[in-house]
Amino acid sequence: MIELEHLTKRYGEKLAVDGLTFTVRPGVVTGFLGPNGSGKSTTMRMMLGLDKPSSGEVRIDGKRYIDLKEPLRYIGGLLEARGVHPGRSAHNHLLCLAQSNEISPSRVNEVLDIVGLTSVAHKRSKGFSLGMGQRLGIAGALLGDPQVLLFDEPVNGLDPEGIHWIRNLIRDLADQGRTVFVSSHLMSEMALTADHLIVIGQGRLLADTTMADFITHNAHSFVRIRTPQPERLIAVLSAEGIGWDRGDEGSFEVSDVPAEQLGELAARHRLVLHELSPQRASLEEAFMRMTATSVEYHAHTPSENNGTASAGAPGAPPGAEPGSGPGSSGWGAHRKRGEGR
């Protein structure tokens, strides 16, 4: 269990983390989402006692990090930046960590086995690939068999096999009753792994909710219809009082009405349909919507256009300042579909 209470970090004038209060619970995978520069890494560093909060506090199982007698036995952390001396072998790296927490040296071989690095245990980590380096970091996190695990961008730079492995590992750890806190900017990955979500933007808490709730509340699901008889479809929908929007390639998008009902309606009116497909909102879309207004390095994203029926291209960032920041193009600018209504 990780508890944050009014956690705040200030760098000079700038508030990197602004009064975060939330609890990460055991037994579930909690995803930690936020645009670049939103304070995720700073928050995680404060959780590990590396950075001192300007105010507020973090407690691991009710204790402050500094008061943990054997921290590796309580919490294992994998930070995004590598924390391994490249000149030291994997085995010796883990050994010096084990010794500092009175963990038996045999445990070193166990975790090397778990992460699949046994064959290169005595090689210097200098020659390790990104994936192997990540596995070594995870071995370090698992070393003390801790109740709490914290992974910052664990799948960064991994190949599909590595991603699959980490996904299963994270799920297993949570199923064993551990507290697992994972940050990632890969939405598809997060959607597959996390049960619960903490979303922050500009250092502030935007959401603390289950994955399902988050998606339902922050993105709209709709049914896409394509037909060679668009005028008739419009007439039928209007007659039924069903609202619609124009979608891509002459398709129609209907919200609020289930696909079954629309299909039956079309059948009754002998309408030819080329497509009738429920479109489930993705986590990515929900995330975009929620954070559109809080992306720090804004490329004038079209959040103010929400609610207008323009199906044009509000996503193109006109007059976006050059170098408008890492967050912009990836986050805000690609919302092509006009969300009408």
């Binding site: 269990m1 619970r25 055991p26 037994g27 579930v28 995978v29 560093r45 590990l48 006692g49 590396l50 001192k52 990090y65 500094i66 007698k69 054997e70 921290p71 590796l72 036995r73 952390g77 930070l79 590598r82 924390g83 391994v84 001396h85 490249p86 000149g87 030291r88 072998s89 010796n92 050994l95 010096c96 960590l97 010794q99 500092s100 927490n101 009175e102 963990i103 038996s104 045999s106 445990r107 166990e110 975790v111 778990i114 370090g140 003390g144 068999d145 801790p146 109740q147 949570a174 199923d175 064993q176 009753g177 551990r178 049960d195 619960h196 603390d208 909710t209 289950t210 399902a212 709730d213």
Partner: protein, 304 residues
């Protein structure tokens, strides 16, 4: 018993319940089968000992120290002429080797801490042991003991070679007439026990203290090149600056308190003054302690 995954975890597999808002019932948390014991400085020392012996930079820097101290020392011993061992204490031929060899120790002292910053290892270290004072103490102790033992060993070897090669010769030229030297007493080149202690343990202590100062500077600066350059300045600048200062008193003071003069005094060939080196060594110990204390304070309050 250190098994992972936990055997027969009593938790429902599959996705945890969703859709219950923020109020999930807390499932029974995972408890590790490995017992938890309290850690202390001893654990940190074991960890730092593993660290220092498992990187190549230790081998390189201390290797270079050995090479200079012994190599250059032997070169001097076997090439000195008669008039030279007449006029200087015979152990003092170790000086040039120590002058260069100390740079290896300084470099290692800096690297012990700055390599952790440059590689990110410091985050792992401080996550494993959040008591930062304990980490610094363990690093300092391990480094100090290792360098004290090894540089004393190197200097002892050189002293032994010097004595074997140059000791027991008749003094033919003008005698080295300082008090307290074996030369005067016997009429042959010799050494007193005080000389031996200063040329071996004294020099070893000097190198270990200087290395420890380098470690403290490394903590303060967190940057390898910056810290090494700073230490080179500390070691060499007072002596070099002295060369360009016309005022005799200022120059002599600078030279007296320069690091190489400590080596000179310990070998009884001081640049300035007539002390035996213990006083300056005490001063170095004081400076090192103060700098370490500053390093501990900064390390404690600074974000990693």
């Amino acid at each position: 018993m250190n098994s992972y995954p936990a055997p027969a975890a009593p938790f429902p597999a599959g996705p945890a319940p969703v859709g219950q808002g923020g109020a999930l019932p807390p499932p029974a948390a995972y408890t590790s089968p490995i017992p938890i014991t309290t850690t202390g400085l001893g654990h940190a020392l074991a960890s730092e000992w593993t660290k220092i012996r498992t990187v190549r930079s230790t081998l390189w820097t201390l290797g270079v120290m050995f090479l200079f101290v012994i190599g250059l020392g032997m070169l001097m011993t076997f090439t000195v002429g008669e008039d030279e061992y007449d006029s200087s204490p015979i152990l003092s031929f170790g000086l040039p080797g120590v002058l260069l060899g100390q740079l290896g120790v300084v470099t290692l002292g800096v690297l012990v801490i700055t390599s952790e910053y440059s590689t990110g290892m410091i985050r792992t270290t401080l996550t494993a042991c959040p008591r930062r004072g304990r980490v610094l103490a363990a690093k300092a102790i391990v480094f100090f003991v290792v360098t004290l033992v090894l540089s004393t060993a190197a200097c002892s070897l050189v002293a032994l070679i010097n004595y074997a090669q140059l000791g027991g010769r008749d003094i033919t030229g003008y005698a080295y007439t300082d008090t307290g030297h074996g030369d005067v007493v016997t009429g042959q080149t010799s050494v007193t026990s005080g000389e031996v202690v200063r040329a071996t343990f004294g020099i070893g202590l000097y190198m270990a203290l200087l290395g420890l100062l380098a470690l403290a500077v490394g903590v303060l600066l967190r940057h390898t090149a910056g810290a090494i350059t700073t230490m080179l300045g500390v070691v060499l600048l007072p002596l070099l600056a002295g060369l360009f200062i016309p005022d005799d008193d200022v120059r002599e003071t600078l030279q007296e308190y320069s690091a190489p003069n400590i080596i000179g005094e310990l070998y009884d060939i001081p640049i300035v003054g007539e002390d035996n080196g213990w006083g300056l060594l005490g001063l170095l110990a004081l400076v090192t302690t103060v700098t370490l204390a500053a390093a501990a304070t900064v390390l404690h309050s600074r974000d990693v």
